[in-house]
């Protein structure tokens, strides 16, 4: 009887490997991309991705078949990240958004479209600086901005990923983008794109 049980066990284990590979591996790209934007460098992203997949395999029996596997994997990654880097989920500092608004108001009349406005406000900023500003966002805000604007997920899916209502996704996204603008505006000022001492009209 025992050999029969063992054969069954071995077969079941092989089946488990196959199932896991077929279901979980296709989502490696979105996980890696998120890990890279969250951890900030390739080495840490690689470790985070590895840890996520190993944990997912070990807890594969806990995954409820037919539910959103991307969201499940994402939550494992998020927890691993929090445990590994012990980042505090801090509230963002209160930022003064008025500079951005004032500058916008001062140049709005001269600009015909948003591309032009973008160029005028943030033009000349390097991709690295945008990335850095994004990485500097508090975690909750950064997560929704990455998932929405870089990975192109729907609000519904983001809500499932972060296990929060859609209203929370919407408000975090709005707040995150505002924080980002302020940060980028500071970069633009530092780079001399916007005169530092300029007084903006209301």
């Amino acid at each position: 009887m025992m050999p029969i049980l063992l054969a069954t066990l071995t077969r079941a284990t092989k089946q488990r490997h196959k199932e896991f590979e077929a279901e979980a591996l296709p989502h490696m790209d979105i996980l890696y991309s998120f890990a890279l934007r969250t951890a900030g460098n390739e080495d840490d992203a690689k470790d985070l991705l590895q840890e996520t997949y190993l944990k997912a395999y070990r807890f594969w029996d806990g995954y409820e078949k037919g539910t959103n596997i991307r969201a499940w994997l994402f939550r494992i990654m998020k927890n691993s990240y929090i445990n590994r880097y012990r980042k505090e989920t801090r509230e963002p500092n209160t930022v003064d958004y008025s500079d951005v608004e004032n500058f916008y108001d001062s140049i709005r009349a001269e600009s015909t479209d948003t591309n032009d406005l973008q160029e005028k406000i943030f033009g000349g900023l390097l991709g690295d600086q945008v990335t850095k500003a994004l990485e500097g966002l508090p975690e909750d805000f950064r997560t929704v901005v990455i998932l929405c604007d870089i990975e192109g997920l729907t609000y519904e899916e983001i809500a499932e990923f972060i296990d929060r209502p859609i209203g929370t996704v919407r408000s975090r996204l709005h707040r995150g983008r505002k924080l980002l603008q302020t940060e980028l505006f500071e970069y633009a000022k530092q780079r001399g794109i916007i005169p530092r001492d300029e007084k903006f009209s209301d």
Binding site: L6, L9, S33, R58, T114, G127, I150, G152, R170
Partner: protein, 275 residues
């Protein structure tokens, strides 16, 4: 649409997932409200900037290989764990294990463990001699039943029984090797009973005596069939297990004696079979 509603729909507008009527109301509001327009445009700029500057990054080959390698190792460990179990319960070990289990089961089945609850003697009939013997013994040990006469000399006890119409007891054996004795006489269903308590060292032995004829043939008292058979065949009967005492029944001349004691069974047998 109010300013608050516009702010609420900002994200949807950015993503272009708007239905006709709401879209119209949204942009109508923007054309009239500079504050909301600013909000919308700045958010659009932020979104576009992020989309333009920060791209989705596909997993590089070496990272993919690294993760797949780790997973393969993990799979292999799982297999190894199974093969370890396989070895343990494999061709050699498994039959030995089964044999050992069968042997244990057979031993358990054929050799009942002692003391076994099922072998404890239970006497419930109130006119049963052994039931009365055990009940009286408990009451004597708990101090509820006290002897009428206490003496250090066996002759005093014999004379007490004679005086109280228990000649049968007076003729039966009274053990000499004893520290002190207690005695009393009672009646059950018209049958006279003699009771003797022997204190020897730390042991207490109680002997219940009745005319043999009354015990074995009378209507008032009863005896367990096993006891009757043993008495007929061997003249002595030992009751099966009791948790804290031993019971021996024997006949001497025309008297039936039933003894219960804290002594071990062999010691009790030796005690009651003194010449």
């Amino acid at each position: 649409m109010t300013c608050d509603e516009v702010l609420e729909h900002l994200g949807l507008a950015l993503d272009g997932s708007f239905s006709g009527r709401i879209r119209e109301e949204f942009f109508n509001h923007l054309s009239l409200c500079a504050r909301c327009r600013r909000e919308f445009e700045l958010e659009t700029i932020a979104q576009q900037l992020v989309r333009k500057s920060v791209k989705h990054v596909a997993t590089p080959h070496h990272v993919r290989n690294f993760v797949l390698g780790s997973l393969r190792e993990e799979f292999a460990h799982t297999k190894q764990r199974i093969s370890w179990v396989e070895r343990f319960f494999g061709k050699r070990f498994f039959p030995s294990l089964v044999t050992a289990l069968v042997v244990i089961a057979l031993i358990y089945y054929f050799v009942p463990l002692e003391p076994s609850g099922s072998r404890l003697a239970v006497h419930t009939a109130s006119n049963d001699v052994i039931f009365q013997l055990l009940q009286n013994f408990t009451r004597i040990r708990e101090g509820q039943l006290k002897p009428k006469t206490v003496a250090c000399d066996a002759a005093v006890i014999k004379s007490y029984f004679k005086k109280n119409g228990c000649d049968f007891a007076a003729t039966s054996k009274v053990i000499d090797d004893c520290d002190w004795y207690g005695a009393m006489v009672s009646e059950f269903g018209g049958v006279r009973l003699a009771h003797v308590v022997y204190h020897t060292g730390d042991d207490v032995t109680y002997v219940y005596e009745v005319k043999k004829k009354e015990a074995l043939e009378g209507a008032s008292l009863s005896m367990p069939p096993a006891a009757r058979q043993a008495l007929a065949e061997k003249g002595v009967y030992t009751d099966p297990l009791h948790p804290d005492c031993n019971v021996v029944v024997w006949t001497a001349n025309e008297t039936l004696c039933a003894a219960v004691s804290t002594m071990k069974k062999d010691k009790l047998l030796a005690f009651v079979s003194q010449p």
